[in-house]
Symmetry: none
Subunit: 199 residues, 4 copies
């Protein structure tokens, strides 16, 4: 038990270091050697816990995503109305990315475009999150809150695509301002559209 705990601590230490360095330098420019040095562990020991460099990379967001969607589900139980739920979802996604920019970099700049990741455990977690959004949109349709004709997949794509774009732009620049302040206008625009009502 003590040993198990110790091993868990080492694994966590590796993951935390990997998140920081992968997040700052990207996959190619990060070396196992650097992670090992920063984590104060031998290179060989990293391979005791993770089979490959890519496996280590994939492991970083898995736990994070899992925790995120648990949190999301918990919050959504307290909220009534699909629009309010979507607002909450968007807020949580933006603020989570803002709070963990290294993890955000790994997901948004590295893994989103890695075909191998599509079949990994980490991506499964992310798919669960997408399902929550889909269900919420469907709930809004069923409740008459959203238009009957809207396409669930497209609507989710608008939400996710916009968040990804905002987060990515934020990550790629000097990150001067907060992301979360975009949540409200974003959900408003998606729900109400941009068309003038007077028309």
């Amino acid at each position: 038990m003590a040993n198990l705990t110790k091993m868990e601590a080492r694994k966590t230490q590796i993951l935390r270091t990997a998140e920081r360095i992968f997040g700052k330098k990207g996959f190619q420019d990060t070396t196992i050697s650097e992670i090992a040095k920063e984590a104060k562990i031998s290179e060989a020991s990293i391979y005791e816990y993770f089979s490959t460099k890519e496996g280590l990379l994939f492991s970083v967001p898995t736990k994070n995503a899992s925790e995120l969607f648990k949190l999301m589900k918990f919050h959504l139980r307290l909220i009534r109305g699909a629009a309010n739920k979507l607002r909450s979802i968007i807020y949580i996604l933006l603020s989570t990315n803002e709070k963990s920019p290294d993890n955000a970099s790994i997901v948004m700049l590295i893994l989103k475009h890695n075909k191998k990741f599509l079949n990994s455990e980490g991506h499964l977690e992310i798919k669960k999150g997408l399902k929550i959004i889909d269900e919420t949109i469907q709930e809004g349709i069923n409740a008459g809150e959203f238009r009957n004709g809207i396409n669930v997949y497209l609507t989710r794509s608008i939400i996710i695509g916009t968040i990804e774009h905002l987060v990515t732009s934020w990550l790629m620049t000097e990150r001067p301002e907060s992301l979360v302040h975009m949540a409200d206008p974003l959900i408003d625009t998606i729900i109400e559209g941009i068309q003038s009502k007077t028309k």
Copy 2:
């Protein structure tokens, strides 16, 4: 003149080959050796036309983007109404990416997340395209066609983010269905919103 043409042809041949291979295999997994072999040219000759592997990568989308936005501007002159213009822009962007998946891969999966590319000529061309969108949104606001309170940057982010997400998802999967059929429902949703009118 004959020589100029010949050299232009060689350069174009390199670019076409690079586009194909970079698009299919990504930056790291593509070797100059492979491009040279496929383009039936020596490796050293590639360095006569492009100073580095990264420079070659950056050069691929530059010309494509330039041509795209010329075309876009040309079309937009013929269209009245900001909504119609946005519809056209979205259609052109989706169909262009669909027609050139390799170029799309380079832009969406490789360069969008490369900080060095942000300051390159190719990115300047892309910025010009974003400006067209911004101007069209502003035009809609000025004409009373769009709501006065909407945020131009956010609206553009919704449009671009969604397109990027749709294209990226399409690129990352088996690409079973057409992208362009999403243009109309996408612009409709953005303009009208998802809220039920009966509410």
Copy 3:
């Protein structure tokens, strides 16, 4: 300890092989690949012990020079008279170069003309040797054995320059005859001059 010994042995093995090949082929014409093959070690392993090809080159004469000057100092303690000491120094220098022509080539043909080497550890060792000569000349002046007006730096330059020239010429040709037999006439000429006494 066993490991240390093993690693020391490998390092020595690399150095010996590098000395042989650098000495015979020069710096540019020697490849790390060849050294690795001859030393029966992988190329990558060489980089475990030496950071660059140039670093390996510089390391070759460092140890040799260090041992040489220890030996020289030891011998000089047994000798009385500055002239006799200079004779011994010249003899040791000529015979050392003759016994280790590869190391001599590295020093005389490669490193003596490398500005980067001037600031390296290896050159520091060589400077110590020059200091021994200077001190011996000064000792001869102080003892009245040598003329009072002679220039220590120039005298040392004559000794070193002549030795370098003799060794270099010997290295550049087929090396038919021995170097050491020049030691006695050389020191005699330097001490007595070439002027006819009858004059």
Copy 4:
């Protein structure tokens, strides 16, 4: 004839440029491309005049040496006494090297240690110069000016070796002070030796 002159001018232009760049950067770090650019001529044209990069290098000192030894012979006719002649030779050699440090670098730092150069035309010229020294020493012996027992080859080696050493040291450092002021003490020391007469 006009053409011949023009070609001679181009060849000289290449040689002058090559001397400057080889002298400052050494052989390996000098590229044909750089010489061509500096000489305002195409790379291919250099190969019209010189067969290889090494051939160009070898050509630089050839003409210089030829002119030097013509000058030397001319001067020596005016001088009586072997010691005076040697003094003049040393002075001319030191001042020539000091006046043309780029050529000096090529000879002292590059070519002196190049075995191929030993058989080249440029080295033949240098050998002629050595012969002048040998003859002068022999002349001094025959005239009773120098000791009968001295070794001509060794004496010449002392002279040449010391000059090479002084010039090389001067080239390798910041060249703060003049070389020629060493000529007189050098020849004095060689002729008179360093031994105290009182002894």
